[in-house]
Amino acid sequence: MSTLITKVRQRQISQLIEKGKRLDDRALTDYREIKIEEGLIERAEGSAKILLGKTEVLVGVKVGTGEPFTDTPNEGVLTVNAELVPLASPSFEPGPPDENSIELARIVDRGIRESKTIDNEKLCIEPGKKVFVVFVDVYVLNHDGNLIDASALAAVSALLNTKMPNFEIKDGEVKIKQGYTPLSLRSHPVTVTIGKIGDKLVVDLGLEEEQVMDARLSMAVKDDGNICAIQKGGSGYFTPQQIIEASKLAQEKAAEMRKKLKW
């Protein structure tokens, strides 16, 4: 996911951050402006578009039916996929998902799964035979850094306005009826990614800042403030103290960001 920036620019960014400043005058722990638009794709059962500064991510939720996994016959299935659409950045290429898009999808997936946001047992139609499958498709439309937090927030936002089809079982056959029921969520996980630049912890890195970043830590925080999923990325390291510090920062920021969700 790299876009080339000059060494001069890199040095400028890291020197500023050392002094606690950033190119766009934000504090190290400030997010860019967040705007969420819900339900703009009528064909999808749920959708949301997020603008995080200039980063733009659209998430669509489609609901289908399918067979449950053999080890969880009473549970519906959640599938998260991410597309780094080539029109979003000169560094994205068409073709099968690369490790960056797979990692993005799996981080979003883990945040929703581990927080038990969706009551999977409610998605069961006929145990062992038929269940609802919830497809969450993350579509990156403009890459200006911090795709993880934007995608995770948009995914929860899209689930919040997802309508589940009504159904009835007649003579052993599942029939989809008219009308919809809102998908009820049990949790509202928010993922906060904290980058390490030099020995500073920085929140919501822009595209250029990501080029300077040593490493990042993405943490999914539940409503009660507990963390339910973590992913470290990037070629650098964190000290144990920095990890504890980052987890506290993530909890604080998640509570702020959660206010952007409507429920």
Binding site: A105, I227, Q231, K232, Y237, F238, T239, P240, Q251
Partner: protein, 249 residues
Amino acid sequence: MNDKQEKLIDKKGIRLDGRKADELRPLKLEVGVLPNADGSAYVEHGKNKILVGVFGPREMHPKHLSRPDRMVLRCRYHMAPFSVQERKSPAPSRREVELSKVIRESLEPALFLELYPRTGIDVFIEVLQADGGTRCASITAAALALADSGIPMRDLVVACAAGKIEDTVVLDLYDAEDKLGAADVPVAYMPNLNAITLLQMDGTLTPEEFEKAVSMATDGCKQIYPMQKEALKTKYMHIKEETQEETEE
């Protein structure tokens, strides 16, 4: 979890496999096991059996992936079809792609990539048998294989997981604990530099439990670290013995 299931840890703090909360599984590390590789290692961590081969630094294929200012590290974490209960398709799964990435990023901080511009180094990890915690065992073995290849390193990378079963924070989860437990926190660590190079978590922990899990996992890493060094030394002890025998003859 339903009541019929056996408790993963009993009142005395003994786990299903007989370990205490902060006890590692038995570990066996061996270096220089693959004649064709530039560096190699084999690890048995509990029932995990993992083989790692390192090739390079060598010319990159395809060439356009090489970097003018540094070496490129490539990692491939792969599970053998017979390594798990249900046969796994040999094609790389999304999980394997993600693990290959996080393992690579856990090893990169240990290497001086800028010393070998335009070259590539490949780390091939084959999980022959999986028993929970394969990514950690893979990292421990991969760091050994890299060291065995003779490439300079800032430190060895050691990895070990902590997690939560029932209500207890425990070290080094095996398969059943991983599946039925409440949380799993794999950690990779460079003990000499006090640097954490991999951290993941799934499952919920309170801030106190999380702090405990991270410190328990790094303590586990510190226990494995001397075993890694010993494995490297053992290889050269064998070479020394062999050459002595030859000169005596």
